[in-house]
């Protein structure tokens, strides 16, 4: 009898909006499943698709990138770059047959704690249904 599958999900959040939104969720005590780990970056545009591909091929079950609403970027246009990169990465992952739930982008402002919580719950539900990330099956460090 093995334990039910619990996905490990990596979340990149921009310092100015989404990380603050996550804080807001905490301050508001919105409860959510403990599958996500948030990594703070100054701007969602710092997130490099290579990092996302690395996470996925290293067996992380899903990656979420959170940024300010388009037009609200603290650095004026960072999240527009994030969006383009994400669109291309979407296309790449879709081509490779990776389920779209394994890479998601959400725009969440500093005030949207509830939205952050909701987004995280959605992602976790969706990935739980998908099961473990197949790309991680043969990643490079287990003593095999």
């Amino acid at each position: 009898m093995t334990a039910p599958f619990e996905p490990r999900i990596l979340v990149f959040a921009c310092n100015w909006c989404s990380y603050a939104g996550a804080d807001m969720a905490g301050v508001s005590r919105f409860q959510m499943p403990p599958n996500c780990r948030v990594v703070r970056v100054m701007c969602s545009a710092r997130v490099k698709p290579e990092q996302i591909l690395a996470a996925l091929t290293r067996g992380i079950d899903a990656v979420v990138v959170l940024g300010c609403h388009p037009g609200d970027c603290h650095y004026t246009e960072g999240n527009y770059h994030t969006r383009r990169r994400a669109l291309v990465l979407d296309a790449l992952l879709a081509t490779l047959g990776v389920e779209k739930e394994r890479f998601q982008v959400r725009w969440i402002s500093a005030a949207e704690g509830a939205k952050f919580a909701a987004a995280i719950r959605e992602v976790i539900e969706a990935v739980r249904d998908l099961g473990p990330n197949p790309l991680g099956r043969s990643h490079g460090t287990q003593a095999s």
């Binding site: 804080d23 710092r46 996470a55 004026t76 919580a117």
Partner: protein, 566 residues
């Protein structure tokens, strides 16, 4: 960068964290992590006791990196960095792990899972901490001289304020006189004060103060440099001038929209704009006869969707003047809806109606029509309330057009590397939090250059911009973000991706001694967003404090670092 000896301080935050996460267990776990030399837990790490303990343990255990696992960096990072600094550790050798907002508070009913997650988060934090390097924030001298572009109300107010504070100001005006749009006006609301007086008062200050150098009939040719040290090339009647300024205030104002092709303007005698009317009033014309004002001429329609904000008040004001000049004349204002905001304008609205000005509502689907052959005879309009067309006899038709952006704003926005909005007005860094600043440091905006503003707004924005500009000039230097980007010239191919995505023009690609293109980052201009680092396929551009290696290490410590095999 010396030995890596990480100290981990896990905070109970009273029961905020400790009530859910089994903190002692997390500390035990932290002790098993590579490069961790010391770990402890505190009831409140941010308390004096906690901070003292951090400093003490840095010394006792020769810690070279500090990880605090408590609340959010957004509120407490500065505090802990300061503590590290006091213990002689570079402030950037500190890493924050959020166990409260991001763990205990959102998993209150799952102590086991929350504790496991806390271990993951601490492990990730330690992984990054081990790779931190000392950083120094760049400093730049600020020349205590300001450039104010535009000699209208906003510009004059800004220049005046700066000169009062003892700063040198270059005030650049492309016309041959100061005052901008205001100079051409008749009287101003509220209070019917002659515009000339207001302009005079604003002008007097800058002309009499020894600190303001006024450049009339001059335009900006080129701007280079950055906050503290801008180089500005000025085209003046007596040739070019090079200015060196520390800050720049954009107060270029706006223009009255010319209603070309609207309501037979420039086709029939007697059709004029508000500005043309006021100029006549200034010139002393007193006879007008029946007059019809048409509001929203050329605004709030496809192509120019915004509301001019001030135009209603202007129409109300001038309609009343005409009525007062000739009480027998029939003065009608055709409006879509009257935006007479604030107590004063609402009062003016009532005052005009009491003076006998008629307000008739028309709908944008049935625009009024100006009747006449050589000169205006009447205006035909569909009366919204009566539901039928009426014809209003008139000798004069005054078109209320909105303020529109200057065509030249585009050039200036390119020179200053600051954005314009869809209507060609300058776009501030944040409409609520940074209303008179641009995202580009050292450049500010005031008045109608941003959006149609009345004189009160223009003046207060001018003073606000002056205050913002004065801050770095008073300090004499700016200390900028240390987590800026940096290029490794040996690894760089010079492809220019970084340059293309930088919103601040901080990255430039130029040829090196060998003639190879190489990118370099101006640390003073860089705001540390990291967009360039993400655009570099090779990783030649790195964002300090968020390097590829640091982020990948966190990812891998999540993917592979667990006790149990994933």
């Amino acid at each position: 960068m010396g030995k890596v000896r990480v100290g981990v301080f896990v905070c109970h935050c009273g029961s905020n964290i400790g009530g859910t996460v089994r903190v002692p267990e997390v500390v035990e776990y932290a002790r098993t992590l590579p490069s961790v030399r010391y770990a402890e837990h505190n009831l409140y790490t941010c308390s004096d006791a906690g901070l003292t303990s951090i400093k003490k343990k840095i010394a006792e255990h020769g810690l070279t990196r500090v990880v605090v696992a408590s609340c959010t960096p957004r509120t407490h990072e500065a505090l802990f960095r300061h503590a590290c600094e006091e213990a002689g550790l570079n402030r950037y050798l500190f890493e924050f792990v959020n166990l409260r907002e991001h763990c205990s508070w959102i998993h209150m009913r799952e102590p086991d899972a929350a504790t496991a997650k806390a271990k993951d988060l601490v492990r990730m934090g330690v992984a990054k901490a081990a790779l931190l390097v000392p950083l120094e924030a760049a400093r730049a001298k600020v020349t205590p001289v300001s450039l104010v572009i535009g000699g209208g109300a906003a510009g004059l107010a800004a220049a005046g304020s700066l000169s009062r504070q003892g700063f040198q100001v270059h005030l650049v005006e492309r016309a041959d006189m100061l005052g901008g749009l205001t100079a051409g006006l008749w009287r101003l609301l509220p209070g019917d004060r002659p515009a000339a007086e207001v302009v005079g008062a604003l002008t007097k200050e800058v002309t009499t103060s020894g600190n303001v150098q006024i450049h009339l009939r001059s335009t900006i040719e080129d701007v280079s440099g950055f906050i503290g040290a801008f180089k500005v090339r000025l085209a003046t009647p007596d040739g070019f001038a090079e200015l060196e300024v520390g800050t720049i205030i954009v107060a270029t104002g706006a223009r009255e929209l010319e209603p070309l092709g609207l309501y037979r303007w420039r086709e029939l005698d007697g059709v004029m704009t508000q500005l043309e009317l006021e100029r006549e009033l200034v010139a002393g014309r007193t006879r007008y006869g029946d007059a019809v004002f048409i509001n929203c001429a050329g605004s709030r329609e496809p192509g120019r969707t915004y509301c001019g904000r001030l135009c209603c008040a202007v129409a109300i004001k001038n309609a009343r003047y005409l009525k007062e000049l000739d009480p027998d004349a029939r003065v009608t204002v055709l409006q879509r809806d009257v935006m007479a905001f604030g107590a004063e304008f609402e009062g003016e609205y009532r005052r005009a109606m009491e003076a006998g000005v008629r307000f008739v509502r028309y709908s944008p689907s049935l625009l009024p029509e100006v009747v006449g052959d050589a000169s205006v005879k009447a205006v035909r309009v569909h009366h919204d309330l009566m539901g039928r067309d009426i014809e209003i006899p008139a000798q004069v038709v005054v078109l209320t057009t909105p303020l529109a952006s200057h065509a030249e704003a585009g050039d200036l926005s390119r020179m200053l590397k600051v954005p314009l909005d869809a209507d060609g007005f300058f776009l501030e860094a944040h409409m609520k939090l940074r209303p008179v600043e641009f995202a580009t440091d050292g450049v500010f905006v005031a008045g109608a250059a941003r959006f149609p503003a009345d004189i009160r707004e223009a003046v207060s924005q001018g003073i606000a911009a002056a205050a913002k500009a004065a801050a770095p000039m008073h300090a004499g230097e700016v200390i900028v973000e240390a987590t800026t980007a940096r290029t490794d010239p040996l690894a760089c191919s010079g492809c220019g991706g970084c340059e293309a995505v930088c919103p601040f023009g901080a990255v430039t690609v130029e040829k090196d001694a060998k003639g190879r293109p190489v990118s370099s980052v101006n640390a003073v201009v860089c705001k540390g967003c990291g967009a360039c680092a993400a655009a570099c396929p090779q990783g030649a551009v790195q964002q300090q404090g968020f390097t590829e290696q640091q982020i990948l290490e966190m990812v891998e410590s999540l993917a592979f670092g667990r006790e149990e095999a994933p």
